[in-house]
């Protein structure tokens, strides 16, 4: 919640620099921080590449029913087939597109709404700040997935609505992340200087506030990408996101529930795809945080 007395304890925690091990610890950190980010970047890179080249990469159409259902992995169908005899590998490859597309747009929506609200709240302060942040707090009072379920149930279960719902649900996080640095920047003397030479509010926001907010927002966006992909998978799993026959990992996992005891492959594979992608974004986010915000270094 938003009480000032609580936050210092939280923000100060992952930090330890004592004299004895400090030099070694620092070099360890530099050494470890980078590989983690690199592994994350590599995983994300592979998934992005797969998504981009899906039409060329996938051996078959993701929706064509071309073989016997529930075939195990083999020579003709590398990862076997699903319950309708569709090629599992091709569906996984096309599924990367859906995940990144929904995740990406959802994060953009959350970022556009949240960061704007946060910057404006922090910049103008007073009642603008109070009203904006209280609204954000209300949204944060609901468990994210529960709110996303409620929104998609009202808007109707489609891919676009799932995207919208995820974007709305995660906007408050961006608002909080953007508001903090804005509050700090506004008090700095050069803002007063800018104002005294007649710079407009919008110019100050664009030239002085946004550059300071960009780094934490970038980190948040990377981490949110993983949450957005997880939420899309969950919504599709529950039948409230992507609809058949589109190949979506969450949807594939949901269909697999009926056949998982006969053919565990179709349950293991889509889940692994989700896990690898989300892991990639989480590692990348961790690494970026270490690089861009030394105070938040993870121990």
């Amino acid at each position: 919640m938003s009480d000032a007395g609580v936050t210092p304890a939280v923000s100060a925690l992952p930090r330890r620099l004592d004299a004895a091990g400090s030099a070694r610890a620092r070099s360890l950190r530099a050494f470890l921080g980078m590989p983690v980010a690199l592994i994350g970047a590599a995983l994300v890179g592979v998934v992005v590449l797969v998504a981009l080249t899906a039409p060329a990469l996938a051996p078959y159409s993701p929706v064509a029913q071309i073989a016997k259902p529930l075939l195990p992995p083999g020579a003709d169908y590398l990862l076997g087939t699903d319950e309708f005899g569709r090629d599992e590998l091709s569906r996984l490859i096309w599924g990367a597109r859906v995940s990144l597309y929904v995740g990406g747009l959802a994060v953009l929506i959350a970022l556009a709404l949240g960061a704007t609200a946060g910057v404006l709240a922090g910049f103008f302060g007073g009642w603008v700040d109070d009203v904006t942040m209280r609204i954000m707090d209300v949204v944060l009072s609901l468990p994210a997935l529960v709110l996303a379920i409620a929104i998609t149930s009202v808007l109707g279960p489609t891919l676009t609505n799932a995207m919208l719902a995820i974007g709305l649900v995660y906007a408050p996080t961006f608002a909080r992340v953007a508001r903090g640095p804005t509050l700090t920047v506004v008090q700095v003397p050069y803002i007063e200087a800018a104002r005294s030479i007649g710079a407009s509010n919008w110019r100050i926001i664009a030239r002085h506030v946004l550059p300071n907010v960009a780094a934490p927002i970038l980190v948040q966006a990377t981490v949110s990408f993983s949450t957005a992909i997880l939420t899309e998978a969950a919504l599709s799993f529950l039948g409230l996101g992507t609809q058949p026959p589109t190949a979506s990992w969450g949807l594939m996992l949901s269909a697999a529930r009926q056949y998982m005891l006969i053919d565990p492959w179709i349950a293991v594979l889509p889940g692994s795809a989700i896990a690898v992608t989300v892991l990639g974004f989480n590692l990348l986010g961790d690494g970026l945080r270490d690089l861009l915000d030394p105070r938040m270094r993870t121990l």
Binding site: D3, R15, R16, L32, P143, A150, A234
Partner: protein
Amino acid sequence: MRYLARRAAWTVLAVLGVSVLIFLLVRLLPGNIVDIIAGTEGQLSRAQRAAVLREFGLDRPLPVQYLLWLGNMLQGNFGWSFRTGQPVATLIASRLPITIELALLAVLSVAFVGIPLGVAASVSRSLRVRTLVQIVGVLGLSLPNFWIAILLIIGASTLFGWLPALIYVSPWTDAWVNVQQMFLPVLSLSLGLSAVVVRMTRSSMLEVLGQDFIRVARAKGLATRAVLLRHALRNALIPIVTVLGLQTGFLLGGVVITEQIFGLPGLGWTLLNGVYQRDYPVVQGTVMVFAVTFVLVNLLVDLLYTYLDPRIRYE
């Protein structure tokens, strides 16, 4: 005390805000609510339509509808299911214990597994432990709990040839069967969170262990065990409790999917059925209960701070 009053006031405001949000959300729904209630699209005459609207109080202005809805809820009346005509409050009351059992068991196992493991991991500063804890922590955040649930089911049935009974049995009827049924759901909910808590506990402990009073405690000859538990853990608990509280939202979301996968007829299961059948009073009621729970947990976490660290007085 002033802080408590303000904190309580904000809790009430948050719940009110959530209620407005839920109310507006359902009113925004595309398509005519009458068709949803009556389940007959375009077959009702104008008079029949008006009658349905009147019956459900939908012909009044929105603010009046909201206040009526809120007033009724405060008196324990959550409306009636569009589908079965059953009072939503009765439905929720009968489902809630299952969800409470599931969520409590999950939180407890996260706390009792994650915190001790984190403390144990904080004793060693080796690179290997650090990397392992970091990897496990990130994995905990990355593996979807519904996938873990599915893997657990596959594992239990292929490795042990065992699956819990399908029809839910309450602990009062047969405690042993109930424990069996709760085992996999609780495991699937708590594995990921425990990993996160291990990582959090370790980094929080390391921070505290670097402070002077720990050196003093060691210098005066206290056993490592006492230093770790009585001095360090006590001080390291605040960020851990914060994370546990924040993760409750995640947990409550996970409960919805977990109940669905394991066929536990709890609150999440009820919410989803309401969603699938477009039974909006049920959806509103269950979402409201989820929100109130989450808000109360956050309040509890804030109150716990003052208990864990008497220095925190909030002015």
